[in-house]
Symmetry: C2
Subunit: 269 residues, 2 copies
DNA sequence: GCAGTGACATATGACATCGTACCTGTGACG
DNA sequence: CGTCACAGGTACGATGTCATATGTCACTGC
């Protein structure tokens, strides 16, 4: 149908920037754009829950792709819980409570649209609860080999204090090793799927300078020591203080009065 | 949600020639069978991580459906994180750490294949950590209306003590209201997506008799009272004791010595 | 007047066929 | 020995056709 713009009659030349509607970069699949746009329209509220999406034919016209791509894309969006396809009736946007909030595309769209950071606060609160619990479990775990990896991860961080990028990677690795020591694959998977988003979205308010890295290192040391001492309560408290403290120091604007759960309970345990 | 019937796996042997069984029930879509079977084959280990799925043409022949259905189904499986489709190279089974463990189909398949209940233990541990934390947050929340709903939910449970099915529904509703009072939509969504699976799987043991219901009621009352008293620590402890205790009483076989995280830490806080 | 029925429009479900793009191995060629 | 062209296998995408589910509405029969 409308594929001529990429049918390159003379071979080599790169696509000129003339094409406005279809970027169509080499290597990208058409469905990804369709899925992202539909997800964004739903999350941003352009398409309200209960309303119906345009029929497949209209979407084909709107996105300039074939019905094959539209069908697969809408099915993917359904898999994310954002719409419900009904044979003969159309496709309806579902209630937000049914959305798969851990899905990468959905999570990214929600965070990007999260004006007052309330969702990021919930995300940090969830991560705090899980990691604190897993740190406590790791402290009383009998898996000695896993604990050695925690110590190794801490040493790795210390050695990367001069390289911001590698330090950040070692930071994440330390957290992952703690979770691995707890043998809770489910909790580990959940945290890992939301970890990057939380970090990448906190605007690097307080840049990763040496003071921040040293503080991070100290807090990790506290977690490490509590785990090695087999002190579950101390491990949980240290991990909780580390995550909530780190978040409150980086959070762009101070909390308003919304019932954000992340930063308030640091002292209650 | 999607009503999924757990396809009874025909044991281990390879599909005999009699696979040409297209019951083709009115109203069922072809894709869900394909998705379920592929997911089951991966979770059960018939398809190992790193191995490649048969090409689309072969899958068409194997399942007796068109390439359209195969393409959509494999794409759905990819969305669940179980495979990675690569243009020109084929479809490979991914590492289990990348699986979306909260997906309905995946979760059901994993639990069905969870011989020593280790995954259910992790599931309960995760749920415990999240719900205990949310109960604590609810205790210090200023949302008065939400707290009234918790009290109402408790009364509803009390009134349904003579109806097992309705009591179970009221039970779940009470938990949901506590989570709602914490304003943590993410945590609530995570717990709700794993709640049914945990409950449904612990059924064959410890029938829901009146003694169990009364004990559940008492434990819920303790959670309720702690929240109303704005005592975060007590609320978390009560919720933790309730969930882990309920699980340990229902768990079919006693824990071995595997590092299961669910039942050990009841007393550490 | 009203319930049942059937035609019709509209929507998604499924199939078959064709061409394109991508990756990899292989062998000819310089 | 290295490089390039080509073939084979794979997934990607378009198109056309038919099947099936659903809602609407006029028509029919009581």
């Amino acid at each position: 149908m409308t594929r001529q713009f990429l049918a390159d009659p003379f071979g080599v030349p790169v696509a000129p920037a003339a094409e406005v509607a279809p970027p169509r970069v080499r290597g990208t699949k058409l469905g990804i754009n369709v899925v992202q746009q539909i997800v964004n329209d739903i999350v941003r509220g352009v398409l309200n829950p209960g309303s119906t999406l345009p029929p497949e034919a209209d979407l084909c016209d709107q996105f300039g792709v074939s019905r094959t791509v539209i069908r697969e894309s809408v099915k993917v969006v359904q898999e994310k819980g954002l719409v419900r396809i009904e044979h003969g009736r159309g496709t309806q946007v579902t209630d937000p409570r049914q959305w798969n909030l851990l899905d990468d595309v959905v999570l990214t769209a929600i965070i990007a649209h999260d004006a007052n950071l309330s969702f990021l606060d919930e995300l940090v609160a969830t991560r705090t609860a899980l990691e604190a619990d897993m740190a406590a479990t790791a402290a009383v775990s009998r898996a000695g080999e896993e604990k050695l990896r925690i110590s190794a991860a801490l040493e790795l961080m210390r050695s990367k204090i001069n390289n911001v990028a590698e330090f950040a990677a070692a930071d994440a690795h330390f957290h992952d090793m703690v979770m691995a020591a707890s043998s809770n694959r489910l909790g580990r998977a959940i945290v890992n799927s939301i970890h990057d988003k939380a970090r990448g979205s906190m605007r690097y308010h307080g840049e990763y300078n040496e003071a921040v890295m040293r503080r991070t290192l100290d807090e990790h040391q506290a977690v490490h020591d509590a785990i090695m001492a087999k002190n579950a309560e101390a491990a949980a408290a240290a991990m909780r203080a580390h995550i909530t403290g780190s978040w409150s120091r980086r959070r762009p604007v101070p909390e308003t009065d919304a019932p954000a759960a992340a930063t308030r309970r640091q002292a209650t345990r």
